[in-house]
Symmetry: C2
Subunit: 238 residues, 2 copies
DNA sequence: CGGAACAGTTGATCTAAATCAAACCCCGCG
DNA sequence: CGCGGGGTTTGATTTAGATCAACTGTTCCG
């Protein structure tokens, strides 16, 4: 069992781009100090209110990072899927994170203790750069998040979320997006209530920009979607 | 002149905690590649829409980082004062920042080109750690910002802002806060309109929690302020 | 001294989004 | 087949905060 874990663990680390460029020896050393965490749908990934033991790298499955307010409303910060990681900032500083992490579906993650990270950072400059790049990217994303929250309406946030999700459809040259989770969660991710999300999707559909069927969204007018604002009625063109 | 700049430059770098622990030689090398930027009240610190030349360290004065929406409303991300820095994330990744930086008052800053940063990071692990810590702290701050924006009301944001600003008054054991900028800007910093800020300060005063006189705020009931919510009327106690 | 230009307050109104409340719809399961 | 529960929609209502607008300082400068 132990050795099977070791194998999984090394595989996960070797794959994600965080450890790309790190020497095999370095990875092996880190792997020796890391451990595997298996979680079932809904499980908490860390005791809330406690410091993180280290960096979490998702092997498979999806983790959800959410801010929770007293009451029940939650704000989903982001979801983390295979190959991605979370907790770097809080773990490296030894702080208690403000979010709670839980498994959105059955998942298996690798936990790399902060100590091992720091040692590797001292030893391999390339790894240090990777960590730096990871954190810097998070900063940029979060700034964009603050911007969206304070400067854009719910409608614009939804429109750009859909735009980011959109992928070209093979063949017909159209675009479509597959919602990666329940609409309730997407609403929480976008900082709005599910009722609001539902109504906005309705408006978007009524305006002829999208078509929604379950979790599949067909994007009929990608450009109009990008510049959409809820009030602007039929909006024949610009 | 050149040598005077060099002196200022080395002084600024040696002071801020970013370069704390870096060898004198390392600092000198970086200083040789860095330059001084003098700005007058209101000047832009970087051409908007362009990549940052490097990390900005404030020598004296205050810089303002603000997100701007088409129209005129701006959202102040944060202000940066002597010894602090900004632009690390965007500069290290070579991306165009989403905010505009400008001088809030006459200021002098040091610009450290990203290239020099990267070289020093490879050479001195302690510096690498510092940069990592800086970015990680920004991540945590920004997460807190997102939390405040999506989970707290304007009133609570203001209350905690005042709480954070509060300093004990010498002698009488009370608390007070000095507003660091115009109320209009504070409103933009807190993600609300100046009218709203004005009304909230009024409410806080009416509730007997604070007294406001120009930019000086006397905090009468620190605990009540911490747990304050706008609607809760007179709120005799908990 | 006078008066722009900025900064803050105050009041009346408007509106995006939350809240409350009731269906509804799909899907698995006994 | 019915029924139960999560997820979703829809409608009526409320509300926090924005917007519009007028008025009152303040500051600073010719």
């Amino acid at each position: 069992m132990r050795s099977k874990d070791q194998q999984f663990l090394q595989g996960v680390l070797a794959n994600g781009r965080l450890f790309a460029g790190v020497s095999p020896g370095g990875i092996a050393t880190v792997a020796r100090h890391a451990w595997v965490l298996a979680a079932r749908r809904g499980d908490a990934l860390s005791r809330s209110g406690e410091r993180l033991p280290g960096l979490f790298v998702v092997g498979y499955g999806v983790a959800k990072l959410a801010l929770r307010a007293p009451g029940s409303q939650e704000r989903v910060l982001r979801t983390v899927s295979a190959g991605q990681s979370f907790g770097a900032a809080a773990a490296l500083l030894g702080r208690v994170p403000r979010y709670e992490a839980s498994a959105l579906v059955d998942a298996k993650l690798v936990v790399v203790p902060s100590e091992a990270m720091l040692v590797l950072m001292d030893r391999e400059p390339r790894f240090c750069r990777s960590v730096m790049r990871l954190l810097a990217e998070r900063v940029l994303d979060l700034v964009a998040e603050v911007e969206a929250l304070s400067l854009h309406s719910s409608g614009r946030r939804l429109a750009s979320y859909l735009g980011a999700l959109a992928a070209p459809v093979a063949g017909n040259g159209g675009w479509a997006a597959q919602l990666p989770m329940s609409k309730t969660l997407i609403a929480a991710r976008l900082g709005m209530k599910k009722e609001t999300l539902s109504r906005l999707l309705g408006k978007l559909a009524a305006a002829g920009l999208i078509e929604v069927s379950r979790r599949h969204v067909t994007i009929l007018d990608r450009d109009a979607l990008a510049g959409w604002s809820p009030s602007s009625g039929p909006a024949h063109s610009a």
